[in-house]
Amino acid sequence: MGLEFLRNNGAHRMRDDAQRPLLLDNDNERDEEPEEQNNLAYEQPAEDWHPIDVDSVAVSDDWDFCPRRFIDGKDLGRTVAWLQTEDGYPIPVRLSEIGAVVMWNNTGCLRREWYTVERVVSMIVDPFPWDEVESFAAALQEKGFRLLQCQKPRRGLTYDFQEMRKATQNRSLDEMMRLEKQALVHASATPVLVDGRLESRAGGFDELNTPVVGMIKGHYRDYLHDQGWRTYYRLRVGQRTPAFFLKQKNIEVVSWYLRMGGTQSDLPNWGVVRLEIPATFFEQKLGKDWSYINRLSRVICEYRCKDTSYLRASVSLYPIQRGEECLGALFTGADTIVQRFYNLTHL
């Protein structure tokens, strides 16, 4: 059967991949950390929270903990087809190019130090006969694609296509983060900044010895108390909130919000990023040296993307933007790869 698997199972091409709301959006899949294990009074008690100015903090050019390596990942793909199980459940097929890159700031000269790029096809395979999927996976492998088996949504297979698609997309994102962990392995000897949470990269670096920092642009969880939010909205460019402690599933981190940019006309939360460092490193290696957080915040503001034509400039760092561009150049291009996939699978 091989590459005919999709066609033989009645797969249809999918051209319109615009995000749609869930059919039944009554499921909160996010893993919330137990709040009682977080500590918002880590640096300052709630009543003392106020913006901390880092703009005037002096940082020497040869500061040992200045991030020199920057890691970015990319998942460029879309749902290209869908088919149905015997019971009629819709099964989306996502085709992606995923990759990760290490950018190295070598005394002001930014260069690509390491990268990896892969083509993956992700779908839920369990409802199908093992021999057909095996043959499909082998045929894909021969053509340079890797089949990623997706887990069913938590509540099992569902007729909600968007939910099934989310499960499929999560799988390729998860694989991209594993590539970022590979990148971390290559970069972990020096101070390094990762675009995203440390939680999903835990294991890719030495928590005690690596000066690693995660930078999160999106704010999906409510970590703060009321005074924390009041402080958050008072942040000006070059100011941070007090640091707080978060116990996550795979790692304990010290985190804080930093305003890197934003103007009066933007949304009030635009230009604010959340930063994370391993609590073990901060406590045991640095002995809770708060000046480290100030200096790091200052350096990150310095790295801010100055390209105003870049849509996410106020929450992006220049090296990360360059990393994204590098990966984009290494990818084949969505249209080309999708057409190749259709040709191979005769869809």
Partner: protein, 235 residues
Amino acid sequence: MAQSIQAAIADLYSIADIPQPTVKQSVILLSELIGGYNLTCTEIVGLTSEAASNFLLRRGAILEPITDADKEPLAGYIYVNKTSGHIFVERSDFLVRRRFSVAHELGHYVLHFLPLIASGVFVDEYELVEITEALAPSSPEEDADDLPLGQVRISQQTECLPPLPPYEQMEREANEFAAELLMPVKVIRKLVTHYAADCPGDDLIWRLSSEMLVSRAAMRWRLRELHALPTLAAH
């Protein structure tokens, strides 16, 4: 009784006339390897030996229900007589588990049952010989760290035959066969060499299990068995 696992697998490839797996072609085509023998493979929801027996009766593959068939839930099952064999797997198991169950049953067929039949001890063409092996269900979690165990049964008429190896040995051999078939040592060693430095912790297991379309539990077991599990991945 059992020939060497490596030799048995080499025979499989030779009979099926397909190339040996490589690092770049590491998903083993188990269905094609089975095709080299007079074996069928069927997926059944709610697999029991009774369900398998009923399936074979309906298909006319047997004329009488299988001796000792019962309603015990199973992950895999093989029925063998002098001319053919039928493998069954539980349809609702994870796909990667189903592949391992098939490989396990194929291991019994190649290592234990086929040599017995080929030995010529069944001189009477019409003598009824039935050998079955029932593979117990595994943990519902894909990551469960266990390997399947089964139970071989031989029909009454064959009890006078030279004995098969002890059941525990046959089960161990079938698991070793399945592991070597789906995760050949030569391919594993090369993949580990390629990925071990870059894939920290359990990522190596994730990566290799995805490359070879096997469960993470099976891959973890295999890497441990080959002493190829980096220290971090052991956690």
